[in-house]
Symmetry: C2
Subunit: 334 residues, 2 copies
């Protein structure tokens, strides 16, 4: 509790501490292998569980749908109960969450065809690929904002490139998070995403959702960070391998080296082949574990678990302590 | 010429002066009266003419399509000629334009139902309406970015709320245009839009595309500003009136008062009933003329004309001097 209080004091601009930063992994919410295809069932489940977590497990109140747009094929205009909404006291949600999502089957095609991660905007291919990649990832962002809004979560899309996030030799160089903090302050849930950004040395590159989360964790000191993916967590080898063992707890020391606490594995623990979500298009596993470890080093617990399960709901509630919770906890050993 | 050179020097961060800020009026590119319906013909024409203007009237080169996403109903994945694009020397476009669009039939329904222009985010209705309005206007932004990209224009969406534009009692309070300048610098065309934003006193309000343009004109000193709308320009009474007279030239003095230079009208010139585009959802005509006059006072000519005509193409080229050009020029009398 003392630690939590200390964390709260580190952010003078926000009136309430951020409870949780959630990563919706590209593999969790899109259909791999099919260009620009959303896994609607997983996305809906993730949004519904986020709402439950924001209600603190209390009885689910009336959902105030906040997507008043037509869907393609909608026969009629949306209906808005203006009078009913005017009379409501409030949303009854602890909406102090930030959502960051990956790209999955959005953006990957465009980015890989053009090689924008290598930079070089003087090339017509790279310039066109940059535009095409942003169109693809922002259209996913739009769909995720809408899915959250339909669950009554007051979500606002904030595209990192447009907000001025930029890199230098692929490392974050410039970030203005003041609008994110302002939005949280008035009760909105910012929704960011992996994006194509400008790079001081390379012209442009890809900024992954994982790097964004690490940086936001540093700025906002959330109570915990949740990665929702398409497998139960981090395994010692590809999860498709029948002998794969789920790593339940990983400890990160102050130097950033990590060791497996649970379960006790035989042999070299550091050399295990780690697989969280092989379809992720940025960084791969090494990067993902490194980013999670960097967050844990800040004193923020990271929970990695499977989307759309009871385990993901418990993770979103910050409740992963019981023995039957299935997932990976990455925390500081300090 | 001396004046142009002076203007160029006022913007130290951009390597090239901005040629033109274009407003795609909501009435010009959406179908009034039908919720969230794009006027695809007008939008395509506006994008094609923008491309022609960027080519300086030269022979239209190969269009490098930059929207590599699937459209709903597309049977196959997009095809990208990686080799051909790699070998291209450059786009051959003078892309130093900024595009700002209105909302038209997007956002208006959501904003008016919830009354977000009056503020008060503590109200559930206003909070939900803010989210719903942003979903609607950003989906239009996405479609406009895509339409420009399909014409080979390297467009990047930049949503004002997300970029931190905010107001105080409806007047612009905070604007960070550095990402817009960075984007122009590397050859992208920023695409902004009227948006729901945070307001220091009211909590939230609507920021119109016209106010955004006035501010960008101040920051970027473009050579000229073009408003594309659904009528030929500013009339002395509603353009549906058969006796309506198109005002060809309006002069604005240093105090901001304006007078009609062409044609010579009888009676009180100041009291004429002005109508540009009665379907615009923010501000109305009074605001529109005032914003255009404020731009003209900066020494930047404003051309208001009808989308999808030879007159709009000439306006985008900055060439409105001949007698047969149909539209309204608003310029400083100084």
């Amino acid at each position: 509790m003392a630690e939590e209080a200390a964390q709260e004091q580190t952010d003078p601009t926000a009136s309430r501490p951020v409870r949780c930063i959630v990563k919706l992994g590209g593999a969790a919410i899109t259909n791999k292998g099919e260009l620009e295809s959303i896994d609607a069932v997983s996305l809906r489940s993730a949004c519904a569980q986020l709402r439950q977590a924001m209600s603190h497990g209390g009885a689910a109140g009336k959902v105030v749908g906040m997507d008043w747009s037509r869907r393609p094929g909608d026969p009629t205009d949306p209906v808005v109960d203006v009078e009913g909404l005017s009379e409501m006291g409030g949303l009854g949600l602890d909406s102090n969450f930030v959502v960051v999502h990956g790209a999955g089957s959005f953006g990957h095609f465009q980015a890989s065809r053009s090689g924008i991660h290598k930079g070089g905007l003087h090339s017509t291919l790279v310039k066109a690929g940059f535009v095409a990649t942003r169109i693809s990832v922002t259209s996913l962002n739009q769909e995720i904002v809408r899915a959250l809004a339909r669950e009554g979560i007051p979500s606002v899309g904030m595209s990192p490139f447009a907000c001025g996030w930029s890199t230098k030799q692929r490392n974050l160089a410039s970030v203005d998070a003041s609008q994110i903090m302002q939005s949280l302050h008035v009760g909105f849930v910012p929704v960011l995403h992996g994006d194509a950004v400008l790079d001081e040395l390379l012209d442009c590159t890809i900024l992954s959702g994982d790097v964004i989360i690490r940086h936001l964790a540093q700025l906002l000191s959330p109570k915990y960070v949740v990665f929702l993916t398409d497998v139960h967590g981090v395994y010692d080898r590809p999860p498709s391998d029948p002998n794969a063992v789920l790593l339940r707890e990983i400890a990160v020391d102050e130097n950033g080296s990590w060791s497996i606490v649970k379960p006790a594995l035989k042999g070299n623990k550091k050399g295990v082949e780690i697989s969280v979500a092989a379809h992720d298009t940025t960084g791969g596993m090494e990067t993902k574990i490194l980013e999670a470890a960097a967050i844990a080093r800040l004193g923020v617990d990271v929970y990695i678990t499977k989307v759309g399960t009871e385990h993901s709901l418990r993770a979103l509630n910050g409740d992963t302590s019981s023995e039957d919770w299935l997932g990976t906890v990455i925390r500081s050993s300090g």
